[in-house]
Amino acid sequence: MSVREEFDDWASEGRDRGMEQRHWHTARHVLSRMPVEDGETVLDLGCGSGYAARALRDAGGAGRAYGLDGSPEMAHNAREYTDDDSVGFLIGDFGDLPFADDSVDHVFSMEAFYYAADPVETLREIRRILRPGGTFYCAVNYYEENVHSHEWQEFIEIEMTRWDRSEYRAAFREAGLHVAEQDTVPDRETEIPPASEFPTEEWDSREAMVERYREFGTLLTVGIAP
């Protein structure tokens, strides 16, 4: 199945908004760390509902914010959710970014990067489009140390890359990005029921659920173009 087929379905079922809600718990902390200056151009890769572009304009002071997605339905939905003239959406693929060299100040991506068919090539593309000193904020919940995420591959036909923390750092460097930071950002908002309610449909034990959200949370790797 292609990215387009898979995620067009998700978008038409309204899962774009559901993801926004869940991902916002950690994404908002990640976005607030980005050193965006007034007037800068920011790009969200795999934008889904497009919340990051909206947020970077509203709170972050970005001059222009774009979201790129491989699913036309996602991009169309995202466009409906805002009437900010300085927010725009594009259809495109992580493997061949349609942006000129040095044209973007900051790139953000949440729960999308690991769908890239060739993730190191995508990092090279990101490095190419970033201006010197521009940042790439790469946030993923699906990563090796987060054992609770491993089964996600079973539910999706697109091949997902499952790197561990050090593989992320190594791949950034291989693509010519400096690694500025690595962190796990906890989700403190997802409600965790009292122990007596476990097992739930999704979780065997409260400990496992606490580990997934409060401890493993979202893996953030920040790269900088030299």
């Binding site: 387009r4 594009l90 495109g92 349609p98």
Partner: protein, 62 residues
Amino acid sequence: MKESLLDIICCPLDKADLELEVDEREGEEILEGSLTCTDCGETYPIEDGIPNLLPPDMREAA
């Protein structure tokens, strides 16, 4: 899309500049039209205000 997007986008394949053709506008927003690569000549559609810059082999009919 706004015309200002042209400052930063390019052909996904060879990264050359794109030439805009507008079929329908609504104020500043370009609703329908196309973007043609000034180098390889490949054409990318703009539909419902959104440019589709997928590499041609990944693009299917809408």
